[in-house]
């Protein structure tokens, strides 16, 4: 039994890192713009399609990932300028509805552009097969995806915690009015944050491509998990989503030992439990 628990722990941490990457982008946008980005799932799907298209014409997979990040970053900028800002003065609700509509438009555009048949992509040869850890086997690609996610999350941490841009972003999140008064262009900051958050969603989509393929509706599947991670981590906490992402992956994986059919339902049960006893989330502040 111990080896099975260990095997599921390894799998859970690996999958959790991908959840964390997806949720980090959502967390940045929530922090900067103070709106839950309902188009985040659609951006994740767009990233998967862009990565597929670039990689399947013979470009290296790494270029596909970079293209996914850049393309969805630009899509994020377009969303910010064309969807969020124009209705910003009317309050919170119009922004939510506009983002929801934007998600539907992106999904339909994916269907028109790539068709209804889902797409599969095998990872590069070097990432195929599995590591034999003795007590379990770990697919090389999942190991890569989790390490890559950890590196990207670390890079984002460095960007936000150790650079001037990051300091502005944190200031923009915590005290937007004061930041503006200090002469920092908060509008530009918000656009930069939106691009970064959207780009991370696209990158997560590209990274998930060899695991879940590319379908126009894949964003909805991931968005549910990303919001759960965001709520568990704490809505005001950038890094809470990272810890919560790993925790959700581990809980989901361990649950397969006891009650496999409930392995997805359990993460929603955990979220409800946390909301009941700690409404601000594990790392959030009241």
């Amino acid at each position: 039994m111990l080896w099975l628990i260990s095997a599921q722990l390894v799998n859970g941490i690996a999958i959790g890192m991908i959840y964390a990457l997806m949720s980090l982008g959502l967390s940045i946008i929530k922090g900067l713009l103070n709106i839950p980005n309902f188009a985040h799932g659609a951006l994740y799907a767009l990233g998967a399609y862009v990565c597929y298209s670039v990689s399947s014409v013979g470009m290296p997979f790494a270029v596909g990932l970079l293209a996914a990040f850049l393309a969805t970053g630009l899509a994020g900028l377009a969303l910010d300028r064309l969807a969020i800002r124009p209705v910003g003065e009317n309050g919170y609700l119009p922004q939510l509805i506009t983002l929801f509509g934007a998600a539907l438009i992106i999904e339909q555009l994916l269907l028109i552009g790539w068709g209804t048949v889902g797409l599969s992509y095998s990872p590069p040869l070097i990432l195929r097969g599995a590591f034999d850890l003795g007590f379990t086997v770990l697919p090389k690609y999942i190991a890569f995806a989790s390490i890559f996610s950890a590196l990207v999350i670390s890079a984002v941490w460095l960007l936000i915690e150790r650079t001037k841009f990051g300091a502005y972003v944190r200031a923009g999140i915590e005290r937007p009015d004061t930041t503006q008064a200090l002469g920092i262009d908060v509008d530009l900051l918000l656009s930069g944050g939106m691009m970064l958050g959207a780009g991370l969603a696209g990158l997560a989509g590209g990274l998930a491509l060899p695991l879940v393929g590319a379908t126009s509706t894949m964003g909805g599947d991931m968005l549910g998990i990303a919001f759960v991670v965001l709520v568990i981590g704490g809505l005001g906490s950038l890094y809470g989503s990272v810890a919560a992402g790993v925790a959700v992956g581990v809980v989901q994986s361990l649950m397969t030992i006891a009650a496999p059919a409930a392995s997805t339902a359990i993460i929603y049960a955990v979220m409800i439990g946390i909301l009941l006893f700690r409404p601000q989330g594990l790392f959030g502040e009241r």
Binding site: A7, N11, Y121, A130, P139, V212, S253, T256, I257
Partner: protein, 404 residues
């Protein structure tokens, strides 16, 4: 202008609504036949909706869009892959459009819900799907099942596995946690016992699951010879994609009713190579009716047909033939004719089991080809076996069919 403002208006509306089913076939009595294609063009099974409609329209077109001088109109409605939507679409089409015959649904859960309406409103339903309930516990005089019985599917698939891999004895199953998966798991246990396989584990997964590595990690740890996928559609595609990442070549992946030919394109060739899959239909089936169908379909749609199109084509064709045999377009007469009928269908000689309304038909097994063996982009697999052993009668739960 608002409707039903007074109590009298409300009562009149209620009476009209209640009486509508009693006067259903105005369109039909006027000399035409309205045939419904209730199929998912949105939702989980969206890929199949248009393909079902294509097959039905082709069958009608090849029959001159009429039967015995009556024009036949095809009515395509989206059931969204949801039982509640399917039931609404069937009721609306029956009341508003005089629909008395329909092809649907593609999903078992939707089809079984629609079957209740079919019995109540006396509509002839030709269904597809993997649930045994269509011809078992929830059988009905007005419902016919075109797809194979899950027992037939499981038996044909595992017989081939036993013959091809005599040393593979242990099976781990991954099962979709709803009526379709449960039926397959039930017959996995029965057929495994018949053929001498040992079941070493099973995990049920919720429908719509997109993360399978935790199930696969557990399955691989059990060191089975065979991973049997009692799941279908997008769930199966995702599970197979993720299994391919484990690179576990000593475990054979077998799908008794997992991916039809319509969905094989969703997997990269290296992911599907070597898969052993049961099939309700495959375009290479060598029968005169299938050659005619494949030829006409390819000419019209510039693509090879799959299960969705073949089911609708053959079901519409069978209904039209039954109308001619009965020399009537009345539902009760057509049902009587179908129950007695034997026809050259796309799968070969086909007939109906009068006791259950299960179409008596073969089931096919294919082995997916590596990319190097594919002659064209849609040459996914080769037919390697067929089986037609029907469900043992003692296992069938269909009580006596009610009178018409």
């Amino acid at each position: 202008m608002p409707f039903a403002q007074t109590r009298r208006d409300i009562l009149l509306s209620a009476v009209a609504f209640a009486a509508a089913p009693a006067f259903p076939a105005w369109g039909q009595k006027a000399g035409g036949v309205t045939m419904g294609v209730i199929t998912p063009t949105t939702g989980t099974f969206a890929y199949a909706g248009d393909l079902v409609a294509r097959g039905a329209s082709l069958a009608l077109e090849m029959h001159g869009s009429s039967v015995m001088g009556n024009a036949v109109r095809l009515l395509v409605r989206d059931d969204e892959g949801k039982p509640a939507s399917g039931v609404r679409r069937v009721q609306e089409a029956a009341i508003s459009d005089g629909m008395r015959y329909f092809i649907g649904a593609y999903s078992s859960a939707v089809g079984l819900a629609e079957s209740e309406v079919a019995q109540r409103e006396k509509l002839l339903q030709f269904a597809a799907g993997g649930s045994e309930d269509f011809t078992g516990a929830r059988c009905g005089r007005y419902t016919f099942q075109w797809s194979a019985h899950p027992y037939t599917a499981m038996r044909a698939t595992l017989e081939h596995v036993k013959k091809t891999f005599p040393k593979k004895k242990t099976i781990y199953t991954l099962t979709a946690d709803y009526v379709f998966g449960h039926a397959l798991l039930k017959y996995t246990k029965i057929v495994a016992a018949e053929l001498g396989f040992e079941l070493v584990g099973n995990d049920n997964h919720p429908s719509g699951e997109r993360q399978y590595t935790q199930y696969l990690t557990k399955a691989i740890a059990a060191k089975p010879d065979i991973l049997l996928m009692n799941t279908a559609g997008a769930d199966a595609v995702t599970a197979i994609r993720q299994f391919a990442n484990f690179g576990t070549e000593n475990i054979a992946v077998v799908g008794p009713w997992t991916l039809e030919v319509d969905q094989l394109a969703e997997l990269a060739p290296e992911m599907r190579s070597g898969l052993i899959l049961g099939q309700n239909y495959y375009p290479d089936i060598d029968t005169p009716a299938n050659k005619e169908f494949v030829g006409a379909y390819t000419k019209k749609f510039s693509a090879l047909p799959g299960y969705s199109s073949a089911y609708a084509y053959d079901a519409v064709r069978a209904i039209l033939m039954a109308m001619e045999k009965a020399n009537s377009i009345e539902v009760s007469s057509v049902i009587g004719a179908l129950e007695q009928m034997s026809w050259e269908g796309v799968l070969g000689r086909m007939s109906i089991d009068q006791k259950t309304h299960q179409v008596i038909r073969p089931y096919f097994v294919v082995r997916c080809k590596p990319a190097s063996d594919m002659r064209h982009p849609a040459d996914f697999a080769e037919l390697v076996a067929r089986g037609e052993k029907p469900q043992p009668s003692e296992l069938n739960e269909c009580k006596q069919m009610p009178a018409l």
